[in-house]
Every structure is written in structure tokens, then in C-alpha cells.
């Protein structure tokens, strides 16, 4: 699946020596890797390997105890989560994080970047100042809803959606934010198999249209079909990196899974 133009040079996101300590527990103990543009990088490993914590640190939800994170060559270790999102590092959450008492459409519009009516001055200038641009965002959101077959749910409160629909909304919202890189934290967790397949197909389509993503996932079949390369973590460290078939042959990886 790897494209020829995948340069070996500086990746889109480069993580160096990342560490995270929670009150004496080392959740992540020195992780380094690099994410390349146009690829979906899988992040796998047994429970407690530090995958989600690593994702949290890249997204800016928690600050690393040590190490650096750079994005497009710029050090972003000290940036707040919202600043990283504005640069294009957008994440989804493992547990449902919908804005329950906003409609599906509103959930998507919140993610639309750089709206004029989003600033205090813009809002005070009134509807005529931001309406047209908002309408464009609405159209874009409708496009996404069509693509994810959720059009009928546009005006429903997100809190009233089913678990699976909330997962879809989570991904759509991430896409609405026009990400340079999407951080997917177990996008199929707790979803029935048929919906999981649908999500997989959507992600594959997105991948073909150039999406860059990091995906934490447990289901190895999904990882195999979607991710290249795959990073295996165990006990807070990177164990190996490679394609899924390569990793399947690795003794180390098998051990980690069996023991973990």
C-alpha cells in the first residue's frame, strides 16, 4: 500500500523520547517515532501499553513529563490542545464525547475551523456578517452526513443517537475540522460488526483520498487492512515498527501480546 513518494525525510509528526508519569507510575517510558503524510499509522499493543496516553500527549490533552513532539518541523510540545487542533492535529475520543444537547448538525459546525462568527467581534457584527460563510460550512457538513449515510439524523440531538451513530459522528466531527492528521482512539470500540465494517470502509476511502491518521485499535484484522506502518507498544515503550505481516512474524510481538 505504500506510495513511492513517501519520503524517508522528516515525518509530519515526530515524537522523541516521550515520557509520562502518573504519580510514580510510568505509563509511557521513552517513546520515539515518526508519522508520515498520507498514511494511517496503527498504534497497537496490549492493555496498559501506553497507546492512548501517547495519543493524549500528541493531541495535547496531557503534557508529557519528558520528550518533544514536533509537527511539520515545528516544536508543539508546549502548545495547548486547542492550538494543536487549529494547526490540524484533530483527535477523536474512545468514550463518546458528543455534545449531547446540540444537534448532529451543530456538533459538526462546532468543528468547522475559522468561522467569522466564532470571534466576539464577528458575533457582535451580526448575522449578515457570518451567515454566508456559515451556510458553506452547513453544506460541507451535509456532504459529510451524506457520505456517512446520516442525513436523516441532521436535526436530532446527538445525545439521542445510538452508540454506533455516536462513533460515526465522532469521526465526522474530526473530519469537519479539516485535519492535517486525524488521531483516532479506537474508532470502532463497542460497535457492532457490521457498523465496524462500514467505518472501516469509510476510513479506507478517506485514506485513498489522502488522509493522514494515527489509529489506536485492538482488532488486528482491521489494523492489517487499514494501517501501514504499524507501531507495537508494550509497557510504555515502542517494541517494533513495520507492516502487519512483518509484525506477525516477530517473536517479540507475539510474546508481548501473549504475556500482556
Amino acid at each position: 500500500m505504500s506510495s513511492p513518494q513517501a519520503a524517508e525525510a522528516e515525518g509530519l509528526i515526530v515524537v522523541r523520547g516521550l515520557e509520562q508519569n502518573f504519580g510514580g507510575v510510568r505509563a509511557v517510558a521513552g517513546v520515539s517515532f515518526s508519522i508520515e503524510k498520507g498514511r494511517i499509522t496503527g498504534l497497537i499493543g496490549p492493555n496498559g501499553a501506553g497507546k492512548s496516553t501517547t495519543l493524549d500527549m500528541i493531541a495535547g490533552a496531557t503534557r508529557p513529563s519528558a520528550g518533544t513532539i514536533s509537527f511539520q518541523g515545528r516544536d508543539i510540545t508546549r502548545l495547548a490542545a486547542y492550538q494543536r487542533a487549529r494547526l490540524g492535529i484533530v483527535r477523536t475520543f474512545q468514550s463518546s464525547s458528543e455534545f449531547a444537547r446540540l444537534t448532529v448538525m451543530e456538533n459538526l459546525l462546532v468543528a468547522a475551523p475559522r468561522l467569522r462568527g466564532e470571534r466576539l467581534v464577528g458575533a457582535l457584527l451580526g448575522r449578515w456578517y457570518w451567515r454566508e460563510e456559515e451556510q458553506l460550512a452547513v453544506e460541507r457538513a451535509r456532504e459529510l452526513l451524506r457520505r456517512f449515510e446520516m442525513t436523516a439524523k441532521e436535526d436530532e440531538y446527538a445525545g439521542d443517537l445510538s452508540g454506533g451513530q455516536k462513533r460515526l459522528l465522532e469521526i465526522m466531527r474530526g473530519l469537519m475540522a479539516e485535519p492535517e492528521v486525524l488521531l483516532l482512539d479506537e474508532p470502532m470500540a463497542g460497535v457492532n460488526p457490521s457498523l465496524a465494517r462500514r467505518i472501516e470502509t469509510y476510513l479506507l476511502e478517506l485514506h485513498h483520498s489522502g488522509l493522514t491518521a494515527i489509529m489506536v485499535e485492538h482488532e488486528l484484522g482491521t489494523v492489517e487492512r487499514l494501517c501501514d506502518p504499524v507501531i507495537v507498544m508494550a509497557e510504555g515503550r515502542v517494541l517494533r515498527q513495520g507492516t502487519m505481516p512483518e509484525l506477525r512474524r516477530s517473536r517479540e510481538v507475539l510474546d508481548a501480546y501473549l504475556i500482556g
Binding site: 504519580g23 510514580g24 507510575v25 505509563a27
Partner: protein, 295 residues
């Protein structure tokens, strides 16, 4: 120096009351995860319960015990009858805050409606003075010190040496994890309400026997220092709250002696603000700070 020594003595007595109230408040908030803003009014109602009992002519210490028991029973009932049903009904965090402050108003003004806005006093001890080293204490003050120290030793023993105490500490640190580890959190929470409510009741009675007269707002008036104690110690950290009570009790009495008694609360407030600026989770919350992220 003439002012400082008695202030130190008063400070230790105030600290005992604050320790009772602060440890109870901190445990309650930490273990049950409900910010019970009715805490101050429950203190007052326990004081009135003790007053009712003592008016029957019983020994003051029985009245004190009755106040503690009242606080425990009332708190458990309040949780069972009001708080838990609201949570089951899906009331969110900030809805619950409104629920507890509504309850606070109902209790506080309920007391005012029944007893009126006048002064009461709970007496029964001969106010003889006793010299202890450089300090002079009244028997009442020594009694309060005794209740405070005794209760703190009991809390310590409970948390340190019993399974129940360990369960409570675990629940305070991470309720979800505790439940997954097989701790019957519902039972733990019931008992946590009883213990924290008992401390709350004892604090209420201790508070009113320390002053010559009290009113329907005496308990609520202590809310600022109680919150300061709990935040300084780190929410859910009993030992933190004990230390916090000592610091705030003594500094506020010294400030009262050196500057003006009106500024007792302001000292607590300034400490609270400083803690919030430097370590929003409290100064003794090393463990608790990890819990937020891990949860």
C-alpha cells in the same frame, strides 16, 4: 509575644474544630464525589439537635454524641432520599451543585423558621481555667481538643487498619477502578456519608460550645475556612485536611490577634487563593493528581 501565645492556644482549639469539619468535608467530597454545599447547615442542625438533647438536662458529652449521631443519620438520609435519586435520574454535575445548595437553603432557613433568628447557647461545663505549660485553656476548650484529637485518631485507625478504610481511600482515588476491583462502592459510600456526617455533626457541636452564643447561620459561616482546609489538603485526603486545619486554624487566630478578628475568614481565603494559583488540586495531592488523568 503576649498576644501570640494565647492566639496559638486559640489556634489549636480552632484547628480541632476545623479538623473535624474539614476532614469530614474532604472525605465526603472525595469518596462520594458530591460537593455537598449543605455541609455547613448540617453542622448547624447537629448543634440544634445537641441543644434539644441538652435541654432535657443530660450531660453535655451525651449531647455532643447526640449531635454527632444526628449528623451521621441526617447525612445518610439526605444522600439516600435526595442526592442518590437525583443522580439516578441523570442530573449532571452542575445540576447536583444546584441540588445541594437548594438543600442548604432549605435546611438553614428551616432552622430559622423553627427557632427564629436569635441567639442560643449550649452550656453545661464549669468554665474553669487550666494551665498547660504556657497556655491557659478552659475545660470546654480542652474538651474540644479532646474530641478533635480523638476523632482524628479514630479516622486514622479506620483509614489505615481496616478494609473499609482502604476501600474508602481507593474509592476516593478512583471510584471506577475501585468498583472494578470488586469494592462494593455503594456500601462504602453509605458508610462514607455516615462517617463524614458524624464528623460534620461533631464539628457543629464543637463549634457552638466554643462560643458563648450561636445562631442559625453559625455552621454556614464556617464554610470558607472548611473549604480552604479541604482544598489546601487536597480533596479526599484526610491527612492533608488535618494538616490544613492546623495551618489555617493557627494562622487565622494569629491574624485575628495581630490584625483584627474580622479578618479570620480573609486569611483562610488568601490561603485558598494561593493554593488554587499554585496547586489547584491541593498541596498534598500527589496521588490525587494522577487520578484525574488516569480515570
Amino acid at each position: 509575644m503576649n498576644l501570640l501565645l494565647p492566639a496559638l492556644g486559640f489556634g489549636v482549639v480552632t484547628a480541632s474544630i476545623l479538623a473535624l469539619a474539614g476532614v469530614g468535608f474532604s472525605l465526603q467530597f472525595g469518596v462520594t464525589n458530591i460537593l455537598n454545599l449543605a455541609y455547613g447547615s448540617i453542622m448547624t442542625s447537629a448543634a440544634f439537635a445537641a441543644l434539644l438533647v441538652s435541654q432535657r438536662g443530660v450531660n453535655l458529652w451525651i449531647a455532643v454524641a447526640a449531635g454527632g449521631a444526628f449528623g451521621a443519620v441526617f447525612s445518610v438520609a439526605l444522600n439516600r432520599v435526595v442526592y442518590t435519586p437525583f443522580i439516578r435520574r441523570g442530573t449532571k454535575l452542575f445540576g447536583m451543585i444546584i441540588v445541594t445548595i437548594s438543600v442548604a437553603l432549605v435546611i438553614q432557613y428551616g432552622i430559622q423558621a423553627i427557632w427564629g433568628a436569635s441567639f442560643f447557647s449550649l452550656e453545661g461545663l464549669h468554665a474553669s481555667a487550666i494551665q498547660l505549660g504556657p497556655f491557659v485553656f478552659t475545660t470546654t476548650q480542652l474538651g474540644i481538643l479532646g474530641i478533635g484529637v480523638g476523632a482524628m485518631i479514630a479516622v486514622h485507625a479506620l483509614l489505615r487498619y481496616t478494609t473499609l478504610g482502604k476501600s474508602m481511600r481507593a474509592t476516593a482515588t478512583n471510584a471506577v477502578l475501585a468498583r472494578n476491583c470488586g469494592i462494593a462502592t455503594d456500601r462504602v459510600i453509605d458508610i462514607a456519608w455516615a462517617i463524614s456526617g458524624g464528623l460534620c455533626g461533631l464539628a457543629g457541636v464543637a463549634l457552638v460550645i466554643n462560643v458563648t452564643a450561636f445562631t442559625d447561620t453559625t455552621g454556614s459561616d464556617l464554610l470558607v475556612p472548611i473549604i480552604a482546609v479541604a482544598v489546601l489538603g487536597g480533596i479526599g485526603q484526610a491527612y492533608g485536611a488535618m494538616l490544613g486545619a492546623l495551618i489555617i486554624g493557627i494562622t487565622s487566630e494569629i491574624a485575628a490577634a495581630l490584625i483584627s478578628p474580622d479578618y479570620k475568614d480573609v486569611v483562610a481565603f488568601v490561603i485558598l487563593i494561593l493554593v488554587l494559583l499554585v496547586r489547584p488540586k491541593g498541596i498534598f495531592s500527589e496521588i490525587a493528581s494522577g487520578k484525574e488523568v488516569a480515570a
